[in-house]
Symmetry: C2
Subunit: 407 residues, 2 copies
């Protein structure tokens, strides 16, 4: 079949994409069949609640463990499109399993350093002023395997503990103002209704700024694994602080140093001291397509696509290298770019069939630039498992197969 | 329990919402129980593909019919949050049922007035430059029952043939440029792979402007009922032109006047003539909460929330009346406002317990204002079933029950 090899410049002009698909096109089908072919038989009738196609098999990555109730499952980011993560594929990290909660029997209590202790039912909360916001949630242990040179072999294992949803709920500020926060208050303790009553200490400043008590996720009720019927959403803060199955908020003077912020979710430094309350997730990006485990197929045009996010605001820039870091090109960012949300980036690429390494590097609106692994180790040492956001590389072999690259 | 009745002004200031929830609060729960209560037992383990809570039962409205393959199902808009419609609840309108298509055997052919007839596999299409956009799809028969004074009793029956998704795919322009459109071309014919080979004629101008060949919906593969594996998305145009299971595009000089644009989807005028190719959906809004079938409960603060959309661009303004049209207040529009997408609007309201009628009226960026039923009939008569976008009213009775109002 006919082929063309346009220059890279030809692809970078959005209006100059004619020809880009030549290398991807197949021989034309004969019109005769196209004009007449039909399944000939009626399909399935309408239904009350739809399911995905039986030909689709994307699943969350689950590792076999003796304690599947205190485990995690990972989003197959390379099998998602756009910036919304399907709720059925949103990553999980549970400490005592997913409780089955009847919303009719669930209340959120606000007490402690308040003028008026209160308990809100779901019905109460749904009458109040609401807001919808698109935000990512990321486990601070995400990319923990990336401290090693090559890191994980695919993007589900390397970055799959992050997902992005449209969350709907009531600003936490409104509920706290109802209860009347006392002047001496400085923090809150948020508690979930799971078997371990998972707790985290959160600054009152964050709670009042953009904390959200969410009951909606991607248009429907929040999913059980994500905290049904209520989840605390703290945009940009490590996943564990986004307390699921939210049942209680105690307003306090200072942090409580509970189990999940002392035994876990702290970063040990080389000198033996540890960082604690490292709430904000640093800017991170990863190429999701093509990525580890994929095969590009034949040389020619291939769109490079990926995701970038930052816990400190909007993604300002994503650069992509298709030559192992010798040169970088600005990727196009899908608009609108939300604050503290997945941002989809894309770069048109003409693969010449030679082995190479693909890299992505993002910068957020604060000016922070995603570091190399070497820079990250220089700052934090190697004793810390959490908050790894180093640049990830994918090696494309001459046969089109893609694997993780040492960078 | 204690109550307050702040003035309406108190609610309209976003920073002055303290007290708004008083009328919704319950008696405080004793700290003793709150501090100790726990399910005590481990919950469910992590899973590969999640499901909604067993306590959630929102479903698409399905009418019993002798031909469920040529029927429709309706989105329960009052049970959705934000602007994304859960894919499982996206409305359906099929003419020959939902075909089960193996993507490995599916191709999109582009032929007719082109230089190079082509057939694209899914793999081919996924290598090409992609884009994600949030758009509504609405059946032009949506709100057909609203030609009568009271209209349908609930929002699923009155407006449920409209839904909104994040669609991902390849701009149709790119595929047409690959095939090389000939100068004499003016229209295209799009054909689906369902049993009836559903077809529609579409202007080449629209196809080149913002037509999208979508393979992604809300982050995952497009759902079978929505056209898996490929659907033509024509932002703002009547749903039927957004051809599902897209298999063929024939570039033509003029429209083909096929069955589904002559026997259906035309509007009969009073003088016996008919409008044809009325592609754009007019601006429309509806209050989804509270709406028909709901019960507000006790008097006090209630957020009024709804959806507005226009086939001609962005929603510029939504006004809400809580007194049957005597006075109107500007509702807050959830940002960002997308073009040709659902826009969520909200208005804080203190219900005093008296019977009243709630109305919403939207305006799009072209200046077009959603009409009353009387105005619509004045312009179009009563012989036309399609494209009804009149203002909808909900009556709130003294006992808090909500029904459709004659307006």
């Amino acid at each position: 079949m006919q082929r063309r090899s346009p220059t890279r410049r030809a692809f970078l002009g959005s209006s100059a994409l004619a020809g880009a698909a030549w290398s991807a096109c197949q021989a034309p089908a004969p019109e005769s069949t196209a004009d007449t072919a039909s399944t000939g038989t009626l399909g399935s009738p309408v239904s009350r609640y739809g399911q995905r196609s039986p030909f689709e098999n994307a699943t969350r990555g689950v590792r076999t463990t003796l304690t599947p109730e205190a485990a995690s499952s990972r989003t197959p980011l390379d099998e998602t499109y756009g910036i919304i993560t399907p709720s059925a594929l949103h990553f999980e990290r549970h400490h005592a399993g997913v409780p089955e909660i009847d919303p009719a029997n669930h209340e959120l209590m606000i007490h402690g350093l308040v003028e008026r202790p209160m308990a809100f039912s779901l019905e109460d909360i749904k009458r109040l002023p609401s807001v919808s916001r698109v935000h990512f949630v990321e486990c601070s242990g995400n990319s923990g395997g990336e401290w090693s040179p090559a890191g994980a072999p695919n993007v589900s294992l390397s970055h799959g503990l992050a997902s992005c949803s449209e969350w709907t709920g009531v600003p936490l500020r409104i509920l706290l103002e109802e209860a009347g926060v006392r002047p001496e208050a400085g923090w809150i303790l948020a508690e979930g209704a799971d078997a371990c009553l998972m707790q985290r200490s959160i600054t009152l400043e964050k709670a009042m700024d953009d904390g959200l008590v969410a009951y909606g996720q991607n248009g429907e009720a929040i999913r059980p694994e994500q905290g049904y019927p209520l989840r605390l959403i703290l945009p940009g803060w490590e996943g564990n602080t986004n307390v699921k199955w939210l049942r209680r908020i105690k307003v306090t003077e200072g942090p409580q140093y509970v189990k999940d912020e002392t035994s876990k979710y702290t970063e040990l430094m080389e000198d033996g001291t540890a960082w604690i309350f490292t709430f904000e997730m640093d800017a991170k990006s990863v190429i999701t397509r093509p990525s580890g485990g994929h095969s590009i197929g034949s040389p020619g045009f291939v769109e490079i696509s990926g995701l970038a996010w930052s816990g400190r605001g909007k993604i300002a820039r994503v650069e992509v290298s298709t030559d192992g870091g010798s040169s970088w090109s600005d990727a196009e960012l899908q608009a609108p770019v939300y604050s503290r949300a997945f941002t989809r980036f894309r770069l048109p690429w003409e693969w010449d069939g030679a082995e190479t390494v693909l890299l992505s590097r993002c910068q957020d609106e604060t000016g922070y630039v995603q570091p190399t692994r070497a820079l990250l180790i220089e700052e934090r040492g190697t004793k810390s498992a959490y908050h790894c956001n180093r640049i990830k590389g994918w090696r494309v072999a001459a046969d089109g197969s893609v694997t993780s690259a040492e960078v």
